[in-house]
């Protein structure tokens, strides 16, 4: 789960990481009012759950309330990579002497958290990683010990020569890891961590992604979820325990199992079609899930046909077929549906499916081809 910059900064602030004063505004007048209150130059920053807002014009300096209002006006409602900006963060501008990159990720290869840091901060860290990998310092954190003092101290010394500044950075490294650890994050990042001309160290940006599997014990983070910033289909599917991702094609896909769902999308593409979505309904034959899945897909007006690909496995296919029939009867104005069902009691299942107006397919290849054809 992703949270906004202003929310990540709240988590950092609670941990004791220095961040500049700032508040969120949902209207130009609120932004102007905040600018007035701070009484100095502020930054107006688009709050969207996607990177690249700077290049899209979503971050602007404002000297006075009038300018704050103007910039907020231009940023609010802006579309950044398909997401609409509903909130801006109004935050005090900070003088910058040096920018540092600091991030913690859960590293799959070492199976431990890794702290990545670079004295070349403020830029796209993936570019640095590609072009100048030696500019990135990596510190693997033993999950049983956390960040040890000698580690944060040594890393901080790599980032800044001034011992007084390095000491501040060492503390921030430990606190960033604490924030990462305590919130079950998969990523916690400060880019840039700024050293001011006066030698103070401040986090002027903040990014935190949290492990979805840990949300059951991260109530405070879960409460930060911004439903207005996500696809309504994703919200709906999450509530039903489905997994849904919208794509831009016209062949809707309903599949049981994530790997099979991806392989089905890939096959649609291979045969010249365009998948409209990823949708994994899991192992159950519960008709409610199928109804929800159909409704979510039908919410996308570009969908021209739907391919349902179920590998029955241990689930009995006749059960699945009954669920499908019940679901299809509850939903109106369905575009053509192609069903492929394999597994125990497959024959009985095909008999049951005769009750509804659908096309059946014997194999995945066959089903995909038919669905693409029907989408034309």
């Amino acid at each position: 789960m992703k949270i906004h910059e202003y929310q990540a900064k709240e988590l950092f602030r609670a941990q004791g990481i220095p961040v500049p004063p700032g508040e969120v505004a949902e209207s130009p007048s609120a932004a102007a009012e905040l600018s007035r209150r701070y009484g100095k130059t502020v930054v107006i920053k688009a709050q969207v759950l996607v990177g690249g807002r700077g290049k899209a014009g979503g971050v602007k300096l404002a000297k006075d309330p009038q300018e704050a209002r103007q910039h907020a006006e231009s940023i609010l409602g802006m579309d950044i990579k398909g997401l609409t900006v509903n909130k801006v963060l109004v935050t005090e501008a900070v003088d910058i002497a040096k920018e540092i990159y600091l991030g913690v990720i859960m590293d799959r290869a070492s199976q431990q958290a890794v702290i990545m840091a670079s004295a070349a901060g403020g830029v796209d860290i993936e570019e640095v990683a590609r072009d100048r990998p030696e500019a990135i310092h990596r510190l693997t954190v033993d999950p049983l010990y956390g960040v040890l003092a000698f580690q944060s101290r040594a890393l901080a010394r790599e980032l800044h020569d001034d011992p007084a500044v390095a000491r501040q950075i060492a503390v921030i490294i430990e606190k960033l890891y604490a924030a990462f650890d305590e919130t079950d994050a998969s990523l916690a990042e400060i880019n840039p961590l700024v050293v001011t001309p006066a030698g103070e160290v401040i986090a002027i940006d903040a990014k935190v992604n949290v492990d979805d599997s840990a949300l059951f014990r991260q109530g405070e983070v879960e409460a930060m979820r911004d439903l207005s910033a996500e696809d309504p289909g994703e919200t709906e599917s999450r509530k039903m325990g489905l997994s849904f991702v919208r794509l831009s094609g016209n062949v809707g896909c309903i599949v049981n199992g994530a790997g099979l769902a991806m392989a089905t999308m890939d096959l649609v593409k291979t045969y010249g079609g365009q998948p409209a979505n990823f949708l994994d309904i899991g192992g159950s034959s519960n008709p409610d899930k199928v109804v929800t899945a159909l409704k979510i897909i039908l919410g996308d007006s570009s969908v021209r046909s739907i391919f349902i690909n179920i590998f029955g496995g241990i689930t009995r296919c006749d059960d699945v077929a009954r669920g499908l029939v019940a679901a299809l009867q509850q939903v109106e104005q369905v575009p053509p549906v192609v069903v492929r069902l394999t597994g125990t009691n497959e024959t009985e299942a095909l008999d049951i499916l005769k009750q509804v107006d659908i096309t059946t397919a014997a194999t995945m290849d066959d089903g995909v081809k038919k669905a693409i054809e029907l989408a034309h």
């Binding site: 996607v50 049983l144 599997s213 014990r217 994530a258 790997g259 991806m262 392989a263 597994g343």
Partner: protein, 295 residues
């Protein structure tokens, strides 16, 4: 011979009285697995299907029945503890089916399991089947299998069923089929299984089923070139997956430019390993690469 499980497997089911645990225990028994014991705290002394003894702790189950393998069906918040319990009780091979285990918990559990000398398969995996021995430790549907000489290793669940089904339909039997799981941190990875297949006399060729996210497939490709004499056919799901979205599995996510299907396919092809572009190509490619594959 199969890998990891076989005739010597004596299985204890952790969470045997739950909905999934009891259902799949019956399935495993029906296939032929030597199900020695079940564990559900507070239900010790009972019996599953009137014959399999249930214990309060894994340690007791091991003491009383000599169980050497465990499968875990308990809910995600309790699965890390169940894994540790099995390792602490001396279980050598632990299979965790449970989906949705927090990654942070796995980061702590994995060194625990290793320090006790155990091997973990999963979590969030469908388990393992040895068709020749008729042994299953997991949730895979047994009807799709056929004894043979192809080792299958996969990060996926139903996609594995589909691909194994296609192999069997084409007359290609399997030595062992292993689902390593779709989570970011797992106990056993491709390389571990590839090494075992290399050493397994029954296995003549290998199918590797990967997906987007991480670099396990790239590392597997490097390992195959250096260490494997047996032919491998790979398949990677998720070529159409967008960046930054979790595709069902917790581990199936493209981060920035890393973990894409394209990058993984290229890694295999660079290493001279055959990659099937669509599922139905796998069986023909296998037959082409290995004369030992029947059908």
């Amino acid at each position: 011979m199969s890998i990891l499980i076989g005739k010597d497997t004596r299985l204890v089911v952790q969470g045997i009285t739950g909905r999934d645990g009891s259902f799949h225990s019956a399935q495993m028994l029906a296939y032929g697995t030597n199900l020695a014991a079940g564990v559900t705290p507070g239900k010790g002394g009972g019996r599953f299907e009137d014959r399999i003894p249930i214990f309060d702790t894994v340690r007791r189950a091991v003491q009383e029945t000599g169980a050497n393998t465990s499968i875990i069906y308990v809910r995600a918040p309790f699965a890390p503890d169940a894994i540790c319990e099995a390792a602490d009780a001396g279980i050598g091979f632990i299979v965790c089916i449970t989906e949705g285990v927090p990654v942070k918990d796995m980061a702590r559990v994995l060194p625990y399991v290793r320090s006790r000398g155990s091997r973990l398969l999963g979590p969030n995996c469908p388990g393992i089947v040895a068709p020749g021995d008729k042994v299953k430790v997991g949730i895979l549907p047994t009807a799709i299998f056929k004894a043979g000489s192809v080792g299958v290793v996969s990060r996926s669940g139903t996609l594995t069923y589909e691909l194994v089904f296609q192999l069997t339909s084409n007359g290609v039997g399997q030595s062992t089929c292993v689902g390593i799981g779709g989570d970011p941190l797992i106990g056993t990875n491709f390389i571990d299984i590839l090494q075992m297949f290399e050493e397994d006399s029954e296995t003549k060729a290998i199918v590797l089923i990967g997906e987007i996210g991480g670099t396990d497939e790239q590392e597997a490709a490097g390992f195959i070139v250096k260490n494997l004499s047996k032919p491998v056919v790979a398949f990677i799901a998720g070529q159409t997956a967008p960046e930054g979205k979790r595709m069902g599995h917790a581990g199936a996510i493209v981060s920035g430019a890393s973990g894409t299907a394209k990058e993984k396919i290229e890694a295999f092809e660079k290493a001279g390993i055959a990659v099937a572009r669509i599922p139905s190509e796998i069986a023909p490619l296998l037959k082409k690469t290995s004369s030992a594959v029947s059908g």
